[in-house]
Symmetry: D2
Subunit: 324 residues, 4 copies
């Protein structure tokens, strides 16, 4: 394999640039030519593809976002779109791909591989950490620390005013960010999609806190919780409790996507980028590189998409014990 | 004056603890006994008043929130409430007060002074910076930096996805946080209560950016803008523009209230705390300590509440020029 | 077991407070009485031992340092000292101990256990990450991020001035902090005690960078490198290279010990604290709790002290490839 | 004036990029062509001069360092060097200059102006804040906050171990960073060049702290203090005090030069950049733009270099009162 391309797709995540850098520098090290596809599958279809070298990725390891930009592509979901993309790659003689992204990215990559057999290896880049085949995804650690910093700040004001705060963090289908934030932020409780926690249970926990003279409480809510988002949950709890209770809601939103990546994310991204590249060069295809138990492994795209990585029961138990 | 008390009231602001510390340490230095009133006027009414000394305020200069807690008090708005408060202060022999807070705090302080003549000096503590009589209030610099950090993070993801973001910052009646964030964050535009900016104007600015191939744009919206909050403004703009435009909204919320105070806020808080205390000891009363043009001055409570401090025209002009 | 005590010893590490909190809250949950020993073995000898409850550890999860303070104790190295310590524990009826610290702490704990058979379980708290029996120690992730933040800042000024910087990070016997900083900071090279890298090799790498028109370079040096500290290494390299080369040295020092713990450290500390406590209650003794491959395990103190945990060869290889 | 150039010179400072951006965007706004001179006077001599436009300065407002790089130039100190520089500017038809830097920069600019009469306006960019003609210089607020963050971290470990720390901050001729850090960091004492504080006085303050059972103490030392740097001061104090006293020294070094600029620095830099540009266009020359008492003013280069801006006595007094 002498010529490959890399792209980022789906929601951006801090560390994607570190991953791109590792792929490009790794390619240089192995004597392989490397291109960058701009705006994911969209750029592939349009042929928005640029040559990269070691210099191109100087001084990006610490930058949030992705220098290759990202986009969701409807056209790539069509056979015509994928044909165009294939033709553009053929024109440039690209023999292999590294795809950085999440569920949607790998769903596309699998279909494309099955149709056109261009070897593709993925690197898991998503703040949600909801991919089977890796303990952690690129961007997760940064997102958790960003959310945690917000929780710390809100704790200051919650304590000063004896308030209850419901803080919504990202996670449409998964509670990874929420559970980590809850433990690290010393939250009184957490609501995640993986776990049925009723509004009544939360109300009981809050009540117990007041009885013990806790002056403030924080509940972390994953955006995809089955009881609704933080606004809805807070409203339903307010209806059940003392009307004097001062309840506030903060939805952290897109700040969780950006920012300077943490050391952990930069190292993980570098390792996964290099692992994806070197796997590709060694003949891996249709798989995602991941780190499980500190070992680099490759998992078929199909499994990364269809299998579920559960939130550790240990962590759920810890929230309960530690907030008591 | 041999015995005084200090309290915080209204919304908490980073740096309030540094201010309390300066008052307490300053009192020790001047040989004056000092008490802390817990939860503002509420604590005054209930007699929730504790002795403080130099040790009590060790290691708090860097903490957000307020160790004396804060609350809004309906009872203090009644003559009965204020009578109770006066009686409690009399019981303890408190001869003077330092009130740390904003508009509401000083409104209460003025009424109370007029009724009971206990000399009171204020220190301006509010993230909004909307007090006449001081160039900056305690907490403002920290709040701006917190909001700016969020803007920087959102810029990363906005750029990666070619999106337009409307970011709502605090400021019910004032655009101070918004205008500073807009300049420092390199925002394309800003909407503040002090200034009539129509949705059409914003749409035109955004359009001009696209025409110049700007890939992303950020508009800062003060929560109290006359066109509505960020959600409303974004919706109205979306209706006027290309439907493919990818517009997102983030409301920063309460993270702006908490956090470690900046150097600026700690120094300002220390200076204003000491200035309020030493003013009180020298006979000042019914006034707020402020820093205007680097000089410590005292402004009657009445003026701080009723006079308006305008946002500098220079700053508004800078947003326009620098985003071009 | 109905009554236990916890202490911190050796160099402090961010996350120690989160660990103390988990032990105290966990003890409350399991109905066990818990005491805190102040200033490690010194406090044990002097009987500086205080009761703790859930309230005592409120609002400390985010604080650096250790509320129980730490100290090195010469007296505990004597049989007389240990006898006094044992007597103090007997007086209070303490049946088990949780020791938070590093090498020195566990060396003391092992001797003490062998003499007096008070069941003791350790939790690994040291920024150096040089303990066998756990993949990561409490404080390491925070220290790496603190050092990395410094590297990022220095990169700004190195780039602006075309300078070479030698940055010394902590690690007397181990290069963990150095290697992680080097990868995450995009350093050109790294010097660690585990690895023989000569001054000539570093000079060659720097020269290669100049030949490629790299405008600035950063070399991370672990304080315990066999070639000497950063000052010495920089001097020796300067002697071998172009005299116009602008070389600077920064020794990060004690900033690496303090600060708000990261999410990772707070969660790890909570897990290890709870794991140490629950191990103790289940009958573990003379062992350290650790997390290896995401599993909680217990390793004899003796092994944690005498066995060596190597720095991953993968990481060393990554520095070389990624800086190319 | 239709064509101007901008450059940065001397030690880099956070906010220089924001200043460059304001000058370039301001020039675009006023219809003036603008060039960037790379590496200060060196680049002027070599003709390393590049055209800039609004796009060139996108997304740099938040970056530390300077995109135009900086260097010290021996050649510019010679008449021949300046002649070459003038010729290069003439070749490109550059009619005016904006110089961002400190003392050395403006010394060069004054000489050059006197010889060749190219109108030049300066913007004060130096972390040291030691320029007459402006209350604050670009980079100072960021440097203070960076140093303060380090002080906060060191306080954690100082408290945990009952230690005395001497922390050296930048400031060869001035104690601005030191005094602000001391107040904001709650230091026990401060040593600055502007003020004679003997080692005996510091020893007395530390002793007083111990007598009051202060467990830890921090002394901030400006690198240019007349008693020597932090290492020397600490050694001399150790000789005078109890030998069991655990004294440590940390020299913060170059981390103070880099990093993301604070909101204050970005706004000040934008204002001063625009002010320098618009002054130049209106006919100002041989002056530095500054902000004094919130007003934009212009001060002759000669005064900025020769006049001394004293450290406020108020601040020195505050350190004493607040650490008591």
């Amino acid at each position: 394999m002498k010529k490959i391309a890399v792209f980022t797709s789906g929601g951006d995540a801090p560390g994607m640039n570190a991953c791109i850098r590792a792929i490009v520098r790794g390619a240089a090290y192995h004597g392989v030519e490397v291109y960058g596809i701009v705006r994911g599958y969209n750029g592939m279809i349009k042929g928005d593809i640029i040559p990269l070298n070691s210099q191109s990725v100087s001084n990006i390891i610490q930058r949030g976002g992705t220098i290759l930009k990202s986009a969701r592509s409807k056209e790539f979901m069509t056979a015509e779109g994928r044909k165009k993309a294939y033709d553009k790659l053929q024109e440039l003689g690209i023999e292999g791909l590294v795809a950085i992204g999440g569920n949607g990215t790998f769903t596309g990559a699998e279909i494309f591989y099955n149709e056109y057999k261009i070897p593709t290896v993925g690197a898991p880049g998503t703040i949600d950490n909801d991919l089977y085949g890796t303990d952690y995804t690129i961007g997760f650690d940064t997102a958790v620390n960003t959310a945690l910093d917000a929780v710390d700040k809100i704790r200051d004001t919650a304590d000063s005013h004896d308030r209850v705060f419901f803080i919504e963090v990202m996670g449409r289908d998964s509670g990874y960010i929420a559970i980590q934030c809850a433990i690290a932020g010393g939250a009184e409780s957490v609501m995640i999609p993986e776990n049925l926690t009723s509004v009544d249970e939360i109300a009981a926990i809050l009540q117990k806190g007041f009885d013990k003279k806790k002056s403030s409480s924080i509940v972390i809510v994953a955006e995809g919780d089955e009881e609704g988002n933080a606004q809805i949950v807070a409203k339903n709890i307010k209806d059940k409790m003392d009307e004097n209770l001062d309840i506030r809601v903060t939805t952290l939103g897109h700040i969780q996507r950006g920012g300077i990546p943490t050391a952990y994310d930069r190292i993980l991204a570098s390792r996964l980028g290099l692992g994806a590249l070197e796997g590709l060069l060694r003949g891996e295809k249709n798989v995602m590189a991941g780190v499980v138990n500190n070992q680099l492994i490759y998992t078929p795209f199909h499994d990364t998409i269809t299998k579920k990585k559960p939130v550790s029961e240990d962590l759920i138990r810890m929230v309960e014990i530690l907030s008591s």
